[in-house]
Symmetry: C2
Subunit: 238 residues, 2 copies
């Protein structure tokens, strides 16, 4: 049977979601906990390969097992084995054709920019500091130009070859006020490699007046915003 | 001149506010940063001696200096020297008779109890887990018996001798729903040593049905709730 996990983590101490030759990944740790509970090798597929230092509140992953186990009991067993900065928030049995990555219809990411005064120590690991005045009007003018269906390659880091299909639909990019700064809420049907952080990097330049909102698509050099401000909030399925 | 600081900290890594013979205290670290900036010995007086592991969003402290320095510049200099889990949120010049502890008219503490499901990793250092069902009705019945002016010695840890005046007024003890649990909001004119954590310990027993709400004042043995759920939110002055 196929099982779906919803996983939350503080990415500060990890090399990202995906198993890496050097470094501890979230995928590896959750896989290890699953193998301890189920007593067989497990291949865990995540919806999104979050980078080193990126956080998640609603990462989704799936795996197959022949072991019949109550979802709630599995959740409790996993959380007893996992470190407190990784939590399995939900366990659910799904259809055999469910795929964490390919079945996803949309994803929501939040990026927290801290603009005013000192950063509250309690959220210091989840904020990126924006130095200088944050021009909300310019920020919103630029986000308006990004919403919709576009070829997002100007904001993608390409490793070797181009992505097969670089067309994505960014259905929402809201600028929401929060204590000390703003939260950028991204929702789209998919995101290219480092696309969110490269968009945020460009938006940070717009917000501080280094470049005009109208120039947002002119990416001569990519400026990637730090990982720690980014959280994968939710993955949606049909 | 006398300077007032508002200080926020994540207490996880510290032995508490007050300087201790063994262990790193917040007072010592802030004092050290002040001495580096001002180039003279500084005696820093805090409003509240938060215990090891207790957090603060609005700790208040004062000190005297003959150095004339712009408050905003002092704040920036201090934050450049301090570790990111301690932040000076505000610096203000005050009257010479202002005293962080004795001038305080009331204090607000929050205690976070996590009741349902796994703890979100992003707030894991600021929550205490309540095992078992959390009976909100019993909880509110007990808090109602604590509000008002009382001799709070049943909830105080006495070290050697009794406090001179154990009468305190708890003006507010609200049970507020939040994601995954409840937040207990305490407001009072003063708190005896470990009073908040001993009240929370007793309330946790009431919430889980170990004891009846009516028995809240019968403290045969004190059950002190863990430090990590507690945050000093605000100190008020006339």
């Amino acid at each position: 049977v196929r099982i779906k996990l919803i996983i939350a983590y503080d990415g500060t101490c990890y090399c990202g979601w995906q198993v890496q030759p050097n470094g501890v990944s979230i995928q590896k740790i959750v896989q290890g906990a699953l193998e301890t509970v189920l007593r067989h090798p497990v291949a865990l597929t995540g919806s999104s390969r979050t980078d080193a230092g990126v956080h998640a509140y609603g990462q989704v992953a799936h795996f197959d097992t022949a072991v019949l186990i109550d979802p709630k009991r599995l959740r409790l067993s996993l959380n007893a084995l996992l470190p407190p900065d990784i939590r399995v928030m939900d366990v659910e049995r799904v259809a055999d054709d469910f795929h964490a990555r390919y079945s996803a219809t949309s994803k929501i990411y939040h990026y927290h920019l801290h603009c005013n005064g000192p950063v509250d120590p309690h959220v210091r690991l989840y904020r990126t500091r924006l130095y200088g005045f944050c021009d909300r009007k310019a920020l919103c003018a630029a986000t308006g130009l990004l919403i919709g269906q576009h070829d997002f390659r100007p904001f993608a880091n390409v490793s070797g070859k181009d992505p097969k299909d670089p067309i994505r639909t960014l259905s929402r990019l809201d600028v929401v006020e929060e204590r000390g700064g703003v939260r950028l809420e991204f929702e789209g049907d998919g995101f290219l490699y480092k696309m969110v952080r490269n968009i945020v990097g460009a938006l940070m330049e717009v917000a501080t007046g280094i470049r005009a909102p109208e120039s947002i698509w002119q990416q001569t050099r990519r400026s990637t915003a730090p990982a720690q401000g980014l959280t994968l909030i939710q993955v949606n399925y049909p």
